[in-house]
């Protein structure tokens, strides 16, 4: 029977361990963004981080958005044309992008491009004693280092997702209208009459804000909690990408079910 006891106690230990990590992550979050914010110092630091995580992610977002829009138009056209419904290409591309692909793919790309960089940067700051030296200079690293990065991620990602969707719709236009000959007017007008501001655009933005929060939280926490060795930082960076991606996909299902699943 001892293996059974061991098995159960291992499950218990793993559970307690996970809950402890979650508790530490929550404490970090509280210390960084809830406890006594200092806007005068926070805003300039956040703007700098917005440039790093937002502006520097623009290229990958625009290129990916363009290609995904083009592929969707191509795939959609070959199916819709069989029913003589190629006029609905516009709403098909726009709805898929605004509701799903925009927020989700942006979050996945953001985790890979900006999330991993955040983890590595904070992890290296820990390894080179920069976080410790901040503490010894009586400056709270949670407010100085973590908070601006968290806010920057939460602000940047929804904007990136909207840009992604917009560029994707243009990509769909490029392939559907300019190349395959779908009617220009029907591409845009059916899209306009079908896409609903609240139901489609805002729900996509809400999804994106949730993903932004989760991905940036994971990325900053993994860096802050990393073991300050080369191996520890590499592990933390990998975990950021893996955990954020899984969290985004899992949350996407839940949010979709809440927003669109039950009429």
């Amino acid at each position: 029977m001892s293996w059974a006891v061991n098995w159960i106690s291992n499950i218990g230990a793993a559970t307690i361990n996970r809950i402890t990590v979650f508790g530490r992550a929550t404490l970090m979050l509280i210390g960084a963004i809830i406890a006594k914010p200092q806007p005068a110092k926070l805003i300039p630091l956040t703007i700098k981080q917005l440039y790093v995580v937002g502006v520097q992610s623009l290229l990958i977002i625009i290129v990916s958005g363009l290609f995904i829009g083009m592929v969707m138009a191509l795939q959609g056209y070959t199916i819709l044309v069989g029913y003589g419904a190629e006029g609905s290409l516009g709403p098909m591309v726009a709805l898929s992008l605004l509701r799903e692909l925009g927020p989700v793919v942006t979050a996945l790309l953001f985790a890979g491009r900006a999330g991993s960089a955040l983890t590595a940067e904070i992890g290296l700051m820990k390894a080179t004693e920069q976080l410790s030296s901040l503490e010894m200079m009586a400056v709270d690293p949670l407010r100085r280092v973590i908070a601006p990065r968290l806010w920057a991620g939460i602000i940047a990602m929804p904007m990136l997702a909207l840009i992604f969707s917009a560029v994707g719709i243009l990509g769909g236009h490029l392939v559907g209208v300019d190349w395959l000959g779908v009617d220009y007017g029907s591409y845009w007008s059916i899209m306009q009459s079908t896409v609903d501001w609240n139901k489609d655009v805002m729900n996509g933005v809400i999804k994106s804000i949730v993903f932004a929060f989760v991905v940036t939280w994971i990325a900053t926490f993994k860096g802050y909690d990393s073991v300050p060795t080369s191996e520890g930082i590499s592990k933390a960076t990998t975990e950021t990408v893996v955990f954020s991606s899984l969290a985004v996909l899992g949350l996407d299902f839940i949010l979709t079910a809440l927003m669109f699943g039950i009429e």
Partner: protein, 266 residues
């Protein structure tokens, strides 16, 4: 003599492993105190306990009579403005110039005008001989220069105490000499209290007023450099003379040589 820091009966464990067993150390105000010991016995840990970054399992650390482990976070941050630490790596912020690194604590904790900050930063850089390097990035500095720049940052707010974590480790003889001179000069000119954690015996014995030697989780010797040199303890002598074998064994504990190389039947 007034004590700036008093460590009383301190016991500290990390992940279940005992690091310090009932240690007491006093840091006298205005003097240079050296804490020496073989690597791996947690000398840096001692500085982190003094700075309140780690909490002891039992015992107390007092700064100017106030207990550091029992302070609120707010009070601890106030107290930390009076102490300063020179990290082994220098810990300069890699995304700022040397100038901005040294201006950083001033900008965070004072409301001085930018022109006054510039004057103070340049004075501090002049003191460590790096005024010409103000606009360089930390990556462009040599190891010795980085440590001097970090030293300028450590004295930016004119603290009462500086803790030096292995200031001489990995330095060439010239920068070592420069650092010894600077530590001595700051101690004398600014009436600082200095705590130097190191295993570079000769350098630190030349500037220390009082020496503690840590080994085997305890203080194995303490006194003025003269008293330490004349100590009868074989452990202290092994450390001072750098003998490979002695009370601190050359071999990491292992099973017997016979058993390892000739099989268990012997």
């Amino acid at each position: 003599m007034e004590n700036l820091i008093e460590i009383n009966n301190l016991t500290f464990r990390r992940s279940g492993r005992l690091i310090y067993d009932d240690i007491s150390i006093n840091i006298v105000k205005g003097k240079t105190t050296a804490i020496m010991g073989p690597s791996g016995i947690g000398k840096t840990t001692m500085l982190r306990l003094m700075g309140g970054q780690l909490l002891p399992d039992s015992g107390d650390v007092k700064f100017k009579g106030e207990s550091i482990p029992n302070m609120s976070r707010k009070r601890l941050f106030e107290v930390r403005r009076q102490m300063s630490m020179l990290f082994q790596s220098g810990a300069l912020f890699t995304d700022m110039t040397v100038f901005d690194n040294i201006a950083f604590p001033l900008r965070e904790h004072t409301r001085l005008s930018e022109s006054l900050i510039e004057t103070i930063v340049m004075l501090k850089l002049q003191a460590v001989g790096l005024r010409g390097a103000a606009q360089l990035m930390p990556a462009e500095l040599s190891g010795g220069m980085a440590r001097r720049a970090a030293l300028a940052r450590a004295i930016a707010l004119d603290p009462d105490m500086i803790m030096y974590d292995e200031p001489f480790a990995g330095q060439d003889p010239i920068s070592m000499g420069v650092l010894v001179k600077l530590i001595k000069a700051f101690n004398d000119a600014l009436q600082l209290t200095s705590v130097v954690v190191t295993h570079d015996v000769t350098e630190v014995m030349s500037i220390a007023d009082y020496v503690y030697i840590l080994a085997e989780k305890k203080v194995i010797g303490s006194g003025t450099p003269e008293q330490i040199r004349n100590s009868q303890s074989p452990l202290v002598q092994q450390f001072l003379e750098g003998k490979a074998d002695g009370p601190v064994p050359f071999h990491y504990p292992a099973d017997s040589v016979q058993q390892a190389f000739l099989g268990a039947e012997l």
